[in-house]
């Protein structure tokens, strides 16, 4: 019976249509498709998928409820473990996690776990049906408020995926949690990094509000390390601190010309477009350059996001330029396919050697060097080897460098007792404890550039450790 139903994939808006705006690309299941897809799950006695989920969602449990048509029950089941299902359902690399180990994946047809998670969240969301009141129901708000009054105080630094998860879990355990966010909006990379067309900001807002409804306070415009120090937090009565301050300064190509006008690091470009809504300039006052011919260096999710934003802003031609081959591209397969459908050009096995400007310091060309693949390197991917004398130039008027970033330097810099790796990552035990008693860390501040879900896994692990520490 299982084999009779094909895996349902969620529909995308047509490429032709979607490149004209910043609205969401993937459309999600309707109720019928979701129930049918849920019925494909064979409800393994020893489900591998749960082990593949960094936040340990009871995957067969919520899928069983969807199959039975109890969507409210399904979302409650998910939220026992995951406070951010509408986000995870959209941006988790399920193909490398739960869906990878799904028993049906032996035939390459795993249950569409991610799409079902997204469906459960969206179907019960106040956004899709104003009558659905999964949150914030008054009773939940009150419960949160009650917890707050009595609870031991916990400070969380940063409101990205790691911080929100740690805060949500700690609030559910009965602690009184305050998140300190330096930017003007909560969400961290979910707000400034991932574009609207992949993760609508209304959804981020709603899931942050859900965490708030659990009793978590979110205070924006406070930069821990500057406005207040970690020390100040303890003096103020907080009993434990979780640092989830996220990504930091961009990695550089280290070639001439990186500071010319028109050369962006991806974080800046995406911050302007997503956080500051520069795509609505001048209605929103933050400007962004609109390139006609745009070169994006790198091939991860951030590079795909930057390329697709540049296209939507009005670029004529956007090229992803990558020094290895398609097989080694770190972005999610579906995002690579979507980028390709939208007309992004992939220039593979070439690396930039120089950025060239006009007489006013504006980028006008990049010089590239051809590569071929050699032996695998430390990352297991085949190392690109330059082909001598193969330099060539292409004309561009905008460049986005998307080759990663280091952990945010601020908290470590202002907290000398906090031990870090040479490359800037905060050193933690496998329980997320740092070198300072009572201080825990997780997400990009520990890992460098990683995924939303791994940051959430860290936040969850830290919450458990903090509970043990306080008891």
């Amino acid at each position: 019976m299982v084999d009779k139903i094909e895996r349902h994939s969620i529909p995308d808006r047509s490429a032709h249509e979607r490149i004209k705006d910043f609205e969401e690309v993937a459309l999600g299941f309707n109720l019928e498709d979701a129930i049918e897809e849920a019925k494909r799950c064979i409800q393994c006695k020893n489900p591998k998928c749960v082990g593949g989920c960094p936040v340990e969602i009871d995957i067969p449990g919520f899928i069983r409820l969807i199959a039975a048509g109890d969507i409210e029950g399904a979302i409650k089941k998910i939220k026992e473990k995951n406070s951010l299902p509408a986000i995870c359902g959209r941006v988790c690399p399920q193909e490398d996690q739960c869906e990878k180990v799904c028993i049906l994946n032996i035939k390459g047809k795993s249950v569409a776990i991610g799409a079902l998670e997204r469906f459960a969240a969206d179907y019960t969301s106040p956004l899709s049906s104003p009558s659905a009141n999964s949150f914030p129901s008054p009773s939940k708000m009150e419960r949160g408020a009650e917890r707050k009054r009595g609870g031991v105080r916990i400070a969380v630094v940063g409101s990205g995926p790691a911080g929100l998860t740690c805060a949500g879990d700690m609030a559910k355990m009965g602690y009184n949690v305050t998140i300190f966010e330096s930017l003007h909006l909560p969400g961290g990379v979910l707000s400034y990094g991932i574009p609207e067309f992949r993760l609508p900001k209304s959804i981020v807002k709603l899931e942050v509000e859900y965490v708030q409804s659990l009793g978590v306070d979110v205070i924006t415009d406070v930069l821990i390390g500057k406005t207040l120090t970690i020390d100040d937090l303890f003096k103020d009565g907080y009993k434990a601190v979780f640092i989830g301050s996220g990504a930091g300064l961009p990695s550089q190509l280290g070639i001439p010309g990186e500071n010319y006008q028109g050369v962006y690091f991806a974080n800046e470009f995406l911050f302007r477009v997503n956080m500051m809504k520069a795509y609505k300039f001048p209605e929103y006052l933050t400007p962004v350059l609109i390139g006609k011919k745009v070169a994006v260096f790198g091939a991860g999710n951030v590079a795909m996001d930057a390329a697709r934003c540049a296209l939507r802003l009005g670029a004529e031609k956007v090229s992803i330029i990558y020094r290895r081959s398609r097989t080694e591209m770190p972005a999610r397969a579906e995002e690579i396919i979507r980028a390709e459908e939208e007309g992004i050009e992939f220039v593979l096995l070439v690396a930039p050697t120089e950025i060239i400007s006009d007489d006013k310091g504006r980028v006008k060309q990049v010089e590239l060097l051809k590569m071929e693949l050699g032996e695998p390197d430390a990352s297991g991917r085949r190392r690109p080897v330059p082909v001598p004398g193969s330099e060539f130039k292409i004309n561009v008027d905008m460049v986005v460098v998307a080759i990663g970033n280091s952990p945010n330097p601020l908290v470590p810099k202002e907290t000398p007792e906090l031990k870090t790796e040479k490359w800037g990552g905060v050193i933690v035990t496998k329980e997320q404890a740092t070198s300072i008693p009572g201080v825990y860390a997780g997400g990009d501040i520990v890992r460098g550039s990683a995924t939303v879900i791994s940051a959430m896994g860290d936040g969850k692990a830290a919450a458990k450790t903090i509970k043990l520490f306080l008891n």
């Binding site: 003007h184 300064l249 500071n259 800046e268 911050f271 001048p282 209605e283 350059l289 310091g361």
Partner: protein
């Protein structure tokens, strides 16, 4: 969060002072640091130096010149209005020690930014000689306040309407050539002014610190827009600065980067003027 404007004052044509309620910032702020603020939902994040603070009262002072859309909108705000977002104090505090004789130089709206530095150098035991300059008498700000804080004060205006006719760098040049003992120069102002100062002190081997007003966005060590080449290396003004050794700064590159949004800024200003009907 909301940050209430408790007092506003027009210091000169297009130059405004605002005292803003920001208790945590006021408590933590040190000389040389700045804030990033956003007026409303559609606003930019703009960096402004903390011109003064009153930790007891829980306020900071910002001084700004109407230059683009955002500063124009800020100038339109009145006492009692609230700024939507304000983050700080940002950047490293000025590195203040007792070196002997310090020349502090401020140009244009940069004059506002040197006051905390003058006070800090003084209280560290230095003799502080201050040179301030503006285009004309009407644009010269903070003169009285600075006069009270510094040991000596020199004033220049481009048109000679106040003090010496000429530039702040002219006075510095005379001091250097006249053999005045100078242990440190600290300069804040337009990039060409800071560059001119640096060009005088470099051959004389006088240590010179400049506080750079680069473009900023998050200003927390993430986006990288504030990068500047210092001694051949990329540095980030928000976490490595804003103060740098003037003799190592690539001023030409800084000027190019600051001009990135020139066209866009005009468009934004037109948009704002159209909306406000002015």
């Amino acid at each position: 969060m909301n940050f209430k404007i408790l007092r506003e004052e027009k210091l000169a044509e297009n130059i405004h002072l605002m005292e803003v309620e920001a208790p945590l910032v006021a408590k933590a702020a040190k000389a040389g640091q700045f804030v990033v603020l956003r007026i409303d939902e559609r606003g930019e994040r703009i960096p402004l130096t903390i011109a003064d603070k009153d930790p007891g009262k829980g306020t900071i002072e910002i001084i700004f010149q109407e230059a683009g859309a955002s500063t124009k909108l800020l100038a339109n705000m009145k006492t009692g209005d609230s700024i939507l977002n304000l983050l700080g104090p940002l950047g490293n505090p000025a590195h203040i020690e007792n070196v002997g004789i310090v020349i502090v130089i401020g140009g244009g709206v940069g004059i506002a930014e040197i006051y905390p530095a003058i006070k800090a150098y003084k209280s560290a035991g230095n003799k502080v000689i201050t040179i301030i300059g503006a285009r004309c008498r009407e644009l010269l700000i903070s003169e009285k306040k600075i006069k009270e804080a510094t040991d000596e004060l020199y004033i220049t205006t481009d048109d000679g309407s106040c003090g010496r006719k000429g530039f702040v760098s002219d006075i510095l040049k005379e001091m250097v050539e006249g053999g005045q003992q100078i242990n440190l120069v600290y300069a804040v102002g337009p990039v060409p002014m800071m560059e001119a100062v640096s060009n005088i002190t470099k051959p004389a081997k006088i240590k010179t610190i400049v506080s750079l007003n680069t473009l900023m966005l998050d200003a927390t060590g993430m986006c990288g827009v504030c990068r500047v080449t210092v001694g051949g290396e990329i540095k980030f003004a928000c976490v490595d600065g804003p103060e740098f050794d003037a003799h190592l700064v690539d001023f030409a590159e800084l000027k190019t980067r600051l001009a990135t949004y020139k066209e866009k800024e005009k468009k934004a200003l037109e948009h704002v003027c159209r909306l406000s009907g002015s």
